[in-house]
Amino acid sequence: MNTQRVWFAFFIVLALTLNFGFFVGEIDNPHHHNPYEFFFALVVSLIATVLKVGDRSHLGAVLLATSLVADFQLIAAAVIWGYASQVTGEVSVAVMASVVSFAGGAMLANLTSVILLIAETIQLKR
């Protein structure tokens, strides 16, 4: 067993699960979406990105791309949320809906990552 592979898979799967946890619930209801869960989803997604850097295989490149997409979606969501709560002063229903939908997009990217990871693992076992 390779410890590095464990951490690699751990962070990729954790990014998806946290993302999912934040995403479920009514899309425009702030009570269904925990900001701390969002924070962890973003941090874990960033760590997963760094872990994917440096693998020069074709699969590694696609994995990195999906991770970058997830980061981009989550950061966009964070900016919208932060701007609404701090600058505008009010998190409206529309803002909440767009934050959650951005996170939903990130979740799709993370899902792709996990599928690729599973595909690679199955190929390895043969």
């Binding site: 924070f39 941090v43 850097v53 440096g54 020069r56 701090q86």
Partner: protein, 568 residues
């Protein structure tokens, strides 16, 4: 095999990846310390100025952590911190600042790593070579010959890519004063990948010039090029006859042996000083004057040399039947027929034994510059009328040899550069030089006198150029072929200016379309379409000739004038 090769090129194109890989740990450390710090600040309750509890927002927390980590330290926002917050801030300060510095330090150490910088420089050079738009030659080895040749070729607007294994020499090459930016690749030339990186397989690669002083390396480069790019010609330096034969066995286009070139130059100087002067004016772009050395009619030569130069020079002198006396520490191969004095030649005693007082000239050709200078100074003291030929080994000794008032200095690098230059610039020049070797000395002397007559009292700088009579280069001349006024060579040399004077030019060689060579063609020779002409004369006059060849009206006027004069 091919996947292996692809893998290597990928690694070579991966300086950025290397940087990212090195930064993995610092980046993860940074993300984790940042996130823990932010989370702590959000969770720990603060106190507003009115005394009510509040929590920092993620934005505020991230803001505070960011300016703390980067040691900017704006202060406590949005309200002064409570004791709990201050305790947490202590943890934040030390952990984030340290992880931040660690990350920055890693970036800097990777960037300033010599291996990383070499990789980057190599990548830049390779991508510049790949994006090159003009034809180029690959020069392997930036020694005396390489640096000289790159400069010579630059004067003819021919570009080069340079490969050298030595970083110090590559730095010197960077400083060379050229009209374009020389692409320099630092790497082992004997490795095929280096040649590929230098663009040997590019359609723009005109040839590979292998100039290192190691025969084995030159041989390897020549074979590698043969296989990697069969159509690319290889010009190689070779230091031994065995290596020359080896190179020729797989059709290396040009093999230049500096020792043989030196021996040929010396005998040519002695037997045919006019041909020697003409030859060197033509093959050396730095030499723009023709100075014929006056050779004493009699007297023997003293040759102070050892090793390979002694062998080749003795062989050449024997072939040309020039009397000589060899001064050498080693006995010559052929003891019976060679007059030999044992010694170094730096002492007057050995030189007297070689009868220096009655000698015509001396060749100081040992492989030590100090010895050579000592030999020549001693010899000049013994006989002031001597013709002196010096061998310069190290390029750094040039100032002494340049100021030494010697008749001729053998410079290995320069000789190789001249030989290769003559073959690269224009094919007609090389054809002419082949003819020159066969020509009687009196004929060459006549040609030099003819040019001097055309130049009159002036002694301008000299140069050569070629002209092809085709639709591209001479549209003004073409219409007159196959007419009653078919142009003669002399018509081409008329200056279209006032009074129709003759241009200060001589035609050295005319090559017919079918390959026939006419050396020193007479002025009355009829020209034909497709003729290739090699001209030699005052520098700058080629502009006038090329202009004339473009203009049908001017050429018509010249032909009319010529016929008027003739019919009168």
């Amino acid at each position: 095999m091919s996947s292996n090769h692809r893998g290597r090129t990928r690694i070579r194109g991966a300086a950025m990846w290397l940087l990212l890989l090195e930064l993995r740990t610092p980046l993860i450390t940074l993300i984790i310390t940042y996130s823990i710090s932010v989370l702590g600040l959000v969770l720990i309750p603060g106190m507003t100025s009115e005394g009510s509890a509040y929590h920092l927002s993620f934005l505020d927390a991230f803001y505070v952590v960011s300016y703390t980590a980067t040691t900017i330290g704006f202060g406590e926002t949005p309200h002064p911190f409570t004791s709990e917050q201050k305790l947490w801030m202590l943890v934040v300060m030390y952990s984030t600042v340290i992880s931040w510095l660690y990350a920055i330090g890693s970036v800097l150490s990777v960037i300033s790593d010599p291996a990383f910088r070499r990789l980057r420089a190599h990548q830049r050079a390779v991508s510049r070579i790949a994006s090159q738009k003009l034809p180029f030659w690959i020069v392997c080895g930036f020694g005396g010959a390489g640096s000289q040749l790159i400069r010579f070729l630059d004067q003819s607007n021919i570009r080069c890519v340079m490969i050298d294994s030595n970083q110090a020499r590559a730095d010197v090459a960077k400083l060379s004063d050229l009209t374009y930016e020389l692409n320099i690749l630092v790497g082992d030339v004997a490795e095929p990948q280096t040649l590929v990186d230098a663009g040997v397989q590019s359609a723009l690669c005109r040839g590979v010039l292998v100039l290192t002083d190691q025969d084995q390396v030159n041989l390897t480069v020549a074979t590698n090029t043969r296989i990697l790019a069969p159509r690319v010609p290889v010009y190689a330096r070779s230091g031994t006859d065995a290596n020359t034969r080896n190179l020729r066995s797989f059709d290396t286009e040009v093999v230049i042996d500096p020792f043989r070139v030196a021996a040929r130059s010396v005998t040519q100087l002695i037997r045919k000083p006019c041909a020697f002067a003409l030859y060197h004016e033509l093959v050396d772009p730095d030499l723009n004057h023709i100075d014929v050395v006056e050779m004493p009619a009699e007297g023997h030569w003293v040759i102070c040399a050892d090793g390979r130069l002694a062998d080749t020079v003795v062989e050449a002198f024997q072939r040309d039947e020039i009397p000589f006396c060899l001064v050498s520490n080693q006995a010559p191969k052929d003891k019976e027929s060679v007059t030999w004095v044992q010694g170094l030649g730096t002492e007057a005693r050995t030189l007297r034994a070689a009868d220096i007082a009655h000698a015509a000239g001396i060749l100081a050709g040992t492989n030590d510059d100090g010895d050579n200078l000592s030999i020549l100074l001693t010899a000049q003291a013994e006989n002031t009328q001597l013709i002196t030929i010096a061998r310069r080994n190290k390029p750094t000794s040039e100032p002494v040899f340049g100021h030494g008032h010697f008749t001729y200095v053998l410079r290995e690098g320069r000789m190789i550069a001249q030989e290769m230059y003559a073959r690269i610039t224009t094919p007609v020049l090389h054809q002419f030089l082949g003819q020159l070797e066969l020509m009687p000395e009196a004929l060459v002397q006549g040609i030099i006198q003819k040019l001097h007559a055309r130049l009159g009292d002036q002694r301008p700088e000299l140069s050569h150029f070629d002209l092809v009579l085709d639709s591209h280069n001479a549209p003004g001349v073409l219409p007159f072929f196959h007419t009653a006024r078919t142009p003669k060579l002399e018509d081409l040399l008329i200056d279209p200016g006032f009074g129709y004077p003759t241009m200060p030019l001589i035609c050295l060689l005319l090559v017919r379309l079918n390959g026939d060579l006419v050396p020193f063609p007479g002025d009355g020779l009829l020209l034909a379409e497709g003729d290739r002409l090699l001209f030699w004369g005052a520098m700058g006059s080629h502009h006038r000739l090329q202009f004339l060849a473009q203009r049908e009206d001017l050429f018509e006027a010249i032909l009319a004038e010529r016929h008027r004069v003739h019919s009168r």
